[in-house]
Every structure is written in C-alpha cells, then in structure tokens.
C-alpha cells in the first residue's frame, strides 16, 4: 500500500517582507532557507551549552540532524514542530559524540550529562534568539582578522557551507578553509565567554556592527552574474541586524542607524543593475525602480536612531543615503546637505574617501570648479 503522503502544514508562504532575494520554492510550509537558518540556531544553542571550544562537534551534530530530517521526513511526515525535532536529534547526536570521547576528557561532567534535555518550548522561545546573537558576538573576536570573523559568522550563524561562502565572497574554498581553521583554533583556546549581557561579549557591539556592515557591503557591491547569490548576504545582514536591534544588548541608536543605512541602500539594489548586468551610476538609475518598502523601513529605522548623544558613522551614512532616496531627481538632490554630511562623516570616521565624496557633492552643488577646489591640498592615499 502506498504510504501516507508527507504532512503538509498548509501554512502557505511565510516570505519575510524584509527579504530581498527569492529562496527555494515553498511547498512544505517551511520558510525560505529554513534548513540553513536552523543550522545557525542549532550551532548557536548547542555551542552555548557545551562551549565554543567544541564548535566542530557541534557543527557535525547540526549537520547530521538536518541529514536525518532529509531522510526521515519524507517517509514519516514532517513533524509538527520541525525546529524542536531538529534540536532533539542534534542534541542527542552531540551528547552521544561527547560521551564517546569523555573516557579521555571529562566534558560531560560539566555539561551534557547533568543538563536535562531542554523543553522544546524553551528552545523555541527567546533563549534561541539570545543564542544566535551570542554566537554572532563570539565570531566578532578582535583577535581574528575581519575576513576570518566574516567567514566564521557565515559558516556558523548563517549556515552556508565552505563552497557557498567562497562563492559569495569571491574567494577560493582553500582560502575559506584557512580563515575558518584560524577562527576555530582561536575559539579552542579562549576561555568561556559567558552570557550575552556579560562584559566580555557586550563590549564587542561595535565589532558586531562592523561585521554586519561588512556582510551587507559584500552583497551590495556585487555585479553581474553573482547578483542574486550575493544579495543573500544583504538579506543575512538585515536579518541579523533586526535581531540585534530587538535585543537589549543591541538596542542602541547605532544599531537602528545601521539598519536604516542597509535598508536605504537595499532600496536601490534592483535599480543599480543594467539590463546587461553591469552596475548603473546614480544618474542612470530609473528611480521608479527604487523599492518604496525598503525606503519606508529605512526611514523608520532612521527616525528610531535619532536619540542619545552618539553620532555614529552609520547615522551620517544613513542620512546621506536618505537624501538620495528622497530626492525626486538627481538635479533636485540636496547636494548642500550631502556635502555637509561628508564633512561630518570625516570627523566621525576619517577617510580620504570622504573628501573625494564631498568634492563630488560640491561639484554637483556649486559646479566643477568648486568641487575641484575641495580637493586642493588633497593627497591621495599611497
């Protein structure tokens, strides 16, 4: 007799309005990238329980749980709580693995054996969000180069595999392996990092902002063939940024400003691409293609960022992006404000690029001669 078909949850599409890129076809009531995001959650939660020095065992357990789902669900039907099912299987696999090795090492004394298997409910609730963010903070270790932090976050928090990371960062798999090996070696030697609210992790907030910004930029600067694939990096940056902004540890004006900046830049993503696949300059872009929803979200976050007494580079950059998004045409852009903003940005985050950008804005505002005058005495960086 034919077996009963797979349980279809029939919840329809759960596409997130914040997501820029289309994912896998949603036929199972699972959100886009469910497996990939579950992988990140499993790694985050399990490595908090047993310590990040066990990251490799944790990643193996998460991978094996997803493989078990792939094998079991088509036959037995999809469980009603897929996340809880995956967690149970991954948790058991990890404990089994650690127990096998505990003859030599006494890890279980401290962790797995005494800790009761968590209730599915607690896994699904806020604790999980904390774990995911905690893992992101763990990745942002100042002892690691940015490239390693980024690769580690993409692997553990976002759930991309080495090949996918290499593809998205336009580098070789060997290079990604090298970056990850360096990161894992570091994690094996760091002491327990404690909770998200604790001082060692909370002090990494600026690095977390930095890595999200880097993640977004990697996706944003893509051209031609890789556009759709690299846009996923923008999605990940927005997803994690939102998570951060909703958590006490990240609920600061800078996070809101960063989200504003990312949404406002994302609004122009589609319009930046020419039919031939190249990047279009601002003047060539069809402004009707700008994504109004992204602009709305960006302006909302910009409004929420306007508090406190810290003016971050994200505030200023979001302000500049907003000027462009709100201008009805290139000619009607408020170039005076843009030029002033670049001067401000140079005080907050000095860079020769700010002078160049300001000169361009001044040229649009007062004419080329005035623009060039801005560059008087300007020494291009060596």
């Amino acid at each position: 007799m034919p077996r009963a078909g797979v349980t279809r949850l029939g919840r329809g599409s759960h596409r997130d309005p914040n997501v820029l890129s289309p994912g896998t076809p949603d036929t199972l009531g699972l959100v886009d990238h469910f497996f990939r995001h579950e992988y990140g959650k499993l790694v985050a939660t399990l490595s908090r329980r047993v310590g990040v020095h066990e990251l490799e065992a944790v990643e193996d357990a998460a991978q094996s749980a997803l493989a078990a789902a792939l094998e079991r669900w088509p036959l037995a039907g999809q469980p009603e709580q897929p996340s809880a099912w995956l967690f149970r299987v991954a948790h058991n696999a990890l404990i089994e693995d650690l127990r096998r090795r505990t003859q030599r090492r006494r890890i279980l004394e401290r962790t797995g054996r005494d800790a009761p298997e968590p209730e599915a409910d607690s896994f699904l609730a806020g604790e999980l969000r904390d774990d995911l963010l905690r893992m992101l903070f763990v990745c942002c270790d100042d002892a690691l180069p940015d490239a390693s932090q980024l690769a580690l976050a993409l692997k553990t928090v976002c759930g991309f595999d080495v090949r996918e990371i290499a593809h998205r960062l336009l580098t070789s798999e060997a290079n990604v392996y090298k970056r990850l090996a360096r990161a894992r070696a570091r994690l094996r030697e760091v002491p327990d990092l404690g909770d998200l609210e604790g001082a060692p992790l909370a002090s990494r907030l600026p690095s977390v902002h930095g890595i999200l910004y880097l993640l977004f930029t990697e996706g944003y600067l893509s051209s031609h063939a890789e556009v759709a694939i690299r846009r996923e990096l923008c999605d990940e940056a927005l997803r994690l940024g939102k998570l951060l902004a909703e958590h006490p540890v990240g609920r600061v004006p800078e996070t809101a400003a960063l989200l504003a900046l990312m949404h406002l830049q994302a609004a122009r993503l589609a319009a930046r691409r020419s039919l031939a696949g190249g990047l279009l300059l601002l003047a060539e872009q069809d402004r009707t293609l700008w994504d109004a929803q992204q602009i709305r979200l960006g302006l909302e976050w910009l409004a929420r960022s306007a508090e406190g007494d810290v003016l971050s580079r994200y505030h200023v950059e979001a302000g500049i992006a907003a000027e462009h998004c709100l201008a009805p045409s290139l000619a009607e852009t408020r170039w005076d404000r843009v030029a002033d903003s670049y001067r401000l940005l140079d005080r907050v985050a000095p860079s020769p690029l700010n002078t160049l950008n300001r000169a361009v804005a001044v040229a649009e505002w007062k004419g080329p001669a005035a623009g060039l005058a801005e560059l008087e005495g300007f020494e291009p960086p060596a």
Binding site: G5, T24, P74, F160, E164
Partner: protein, 111 residues
C-alpha cells in the same frame, strides 16, 4: 501493474560531498514534489538498509558480502506498466541518481 524493487547502490565517485543546509532544503522540496507526482506508483518508500549477513547452507559466514552495507543504501518499491516506466520514476527521484549513487530497478515477478 507489476511492482519493481529499486535498490540504491553507491557508485565510486570523487564528487560525493555533504550537501549544505540550503542544498538539503532544496533536495527535500524536490523530493516531496517527486512524491506528489508519482503518488499512485509509490508502493513502499522503503528506507535505508543497515548491516546484513548472507545466510547460506554452507557454514561459512558472509564471504565476499561483508561490504553489502556500504554498497546498498536503501530500497523502495514502485509499481509501473513496464521496466522503463519504473526506471522513469527512479530516475526522477531527487538525489537517487547522482554522483556517488545509482539505482538498480528489478521487476518483482508474481507469476
């Protein structure tokens, strides 16, 4: 319609590697779509096969068949008008026919 036994066999390949989470979800989506398409023909989705032993009249155990668990991954039973029809069902099954894996389709004779 006759039934056919489909036996998954591993095929030597360098390309076999673990799928990423995104790839697994894609495989899962395609598998359920395949299941829906051939619903009427899937007699038994079977499952994975574990360790085994060959039992013969001879007292010697196993013999050359010790490798069976590494060669045979799983089985399922499909019904089809013909061998070619059964092959089509198996061929379209996501992940079954891929680098590192092939499927042997055998008619189950009942008369």
């Amino acid at each position: 319609m006759p039934n056919y036994l489909c036996v998954q066999r591993s095929v030597p390949s360098d390309e076999a590697r673990k799928p990423s989470p995104d790839e697994m979800q894609d495989l899962y989506s395609r598998f359920t779509a395949w299941q829906a398409k051939f619903e009427g023909q899937l007699v038994d989705l079977g499952g994975k096969l574990g360790e085994g032993r060959l039992v013969t009249s001879s007292a010697a155990p196993d013999g050359p068949f010790v490798e069976v668990k590494e060669l045979v991954g799983g089985y399922m039973i499909v019904s089809a008008e013909s061998l070619d029809g059964a092959i089509e069902v198996a061929r379209e099954c996501p992940g079954l026919v891929s680098p590192g894996s092939g499927v042997e389709v055998i008619e189950i004779r009942t008369s």
